[in-house]
């Protein structure tokens, strides 16, 4: 079993409570407040130690739990002095009611997520209009404020960044990196410079990955220099001057 270093991320105090409850495999309706309150507090402590920002709401729920717990230890209220504050029982009912409501939407959120995942398999056409129709379009800049370009650009840059992260898939390596490494060195002995597209012109994804890894290794060892003038442009490989 791998050692769990990372704390789970919870979407709020209700989420944390739900998770604690499910860990005990008990029904929401059967919560043992005492036990849950202790675990909840323990969790808050852990979060503090990791110096994470703790939302005040987390503490509020903890306080509510503690109140319910302590009230449960005392003799039953006689219902004589009725005041404005809720009894522990009422608080508990309220908390449980809210937890049930929350879980309903958490489930609905998961259902939405799977819809979204399914939708990702459908692509729409992203091409521009045929030139003869393009000319007919009403002035597409009408009503556009120059500020909107800034917003568009930010959105685009965000999207690009996320895409770059997303594309971190690792393929099964069939060709060895070492073999590729030697191949590149041999080729560099003959030619002054190489281009990545040329090296990978067979186009197999695994081949591209292996070549890329080999280049990284060579670069790390200081045997080559790498140049790429623009994003997604071809990568130029030159023998390092140092060696």
């Amino acid at each position: 079993m791998p050692y769990q270093v990372k704390l789970e991320v919870f979407e709020g105090p209700f989420d944390l409570l739900l998770s604690l409850i499910s860990r005990h495999k008990v029904n929401i309706y059967d919560i043992s407040v005492a036990q849950i309150a202790e675990e909840y507090l323990g969790y808050l402590d852990e979060m503090r130690q990791l110096d994470l920002e703790i939302a005040s709401e987390f503490v509020l729920v903890a306080a509510t739990l503690l109140e319910i717990k302590s009230a449960g230890l005392l003799p039953r209220p006689r219902r004589i002095e009725e005041d404005d504050t809720m009894t522990a029982f009422e608080q508990r009912q309220l908390l449980i009611g809210r937890l049930i409501e929350y879980r309903k939407f958490k489930n609905a959120g998961l259902a939405l997520e799977s819809r979204l995942t399914a939708e990702r398999h459908f692509f729409t056409r992203q091409a521009a209009l045929e030139p003869q129709f393009d000319q007919l379009l009403p002035d597409f800049l009408a009503g556009i404020d120059v500020q909107e370009f800034g917003v568009l650009m930010r959105d685009l840059l965000d999207r690009e960044r996320i895409r770059l992260i997303d594309s971190n898939h690792i393929a099964t390596i069939k060709i060895s990196v070492e073999a590729k490494l030697e191949e590149v060195i041999t080729l560099l002995g003959r030619a002054k410079r190489l281009f990545f597209k040329e090296l990978t012109k067979e186009g197999k994804r695994s081949d591209v990955v292996v070549t890329f890894l080999a280049l990284l290794e060579l670069y790390k060892c200081g045997l080559i220099d790498i140049r790429q003038t623009d994003v997604f442009g071809d990568i130029e490989i030159i023998k390092s001057k140092i060696n």
């Binding site: 979407e11 939407f105 398999h121 996320i162």
Partner: protein, 190 residues
């Protein structure tokens, strides 16, 4: 059977559209009744489906739109990078679910259900165009009401909000309801 030429024209129109094509607009362009156009679109969608074609016609967000066959997604991905690689966090999805089902709704009410302040999630959904402001609540401070947008329907492949599965489906186990009171009182004290 709808006149083949009408179907062919509709196919052309769908091809150039970059948003769902409404029945009203299609009918206005081809100068036929909406009923006739609807039949034409349905037949067209059927033709695409039965032919297991690379292009498929779907009804979405109150209109009709062409998409690639979902089974071909791995090939398309080699050619274009998805516009929507941006994921939604669980927090954002929860918030979206609440707005989807409870609209129009205020930020405070959303926070009440999630048990945590949800301003950030609302701002993110607004920025993505998945929700929009829908006026103000008649209550102290007149807080803004939020609801889902057309884009929401499109992105989730829904024709209308009625296509959302009933919220009751997401209730935590209803069997457990009977056990509530009994289990609680005593055990809470231990």
């Amino acid at each position: 059977m709808v006149d083949h030429n009408i179907k062919s024209i509709l196919e052309s129109l769908l091809f150039v559209c970059d948003e769902p094509l409404s029945l009203a607009r299609a009918a206005a362009v081809v100068e036929k009744s909406e009923a006739e156009v609807k039949e034409g679109l349905e037949e067209l969608a059927d033709d695409f489906r039965r032919g297991d074609r690379g292009i498929q016609l779907r009804r979405v967000a109150g209109g009709w739109r062409l998409y690639t066959h979902p089974g071909h997604a791995p090939y398309i991905e080699k050619l274009v990078i998805s516009w929507d690689s941006r994921r939604l966090t669980k927090a954002t999805l929860e918030t979206l679910a609440i707005i989807g089902y409870k609209q129009p709704i205020t930020k405070v009410s959303i926070g009440g259900i999630r048990g945590v302040n949800s301003d950030g999630a609302v701002a993110s959904l607004l920025a993505k165009g998945l929700i929009k402001e829908m006026g103000r609540e008649k209550s102290p401070g007149s807080p803004i009401l939020y609801g889902t947008s057309i884009l929401f329907l499109e992105k989730f492949g829904l024709n209308s909000l009625k296509d959302l599965p009933p919220l009751a489906e997401f209730e935590p186990d209803p069997m457990a309801r009977g056990e509530i009171e009994a289990g609680l009182d005593e055990e809470g004290a231990t």
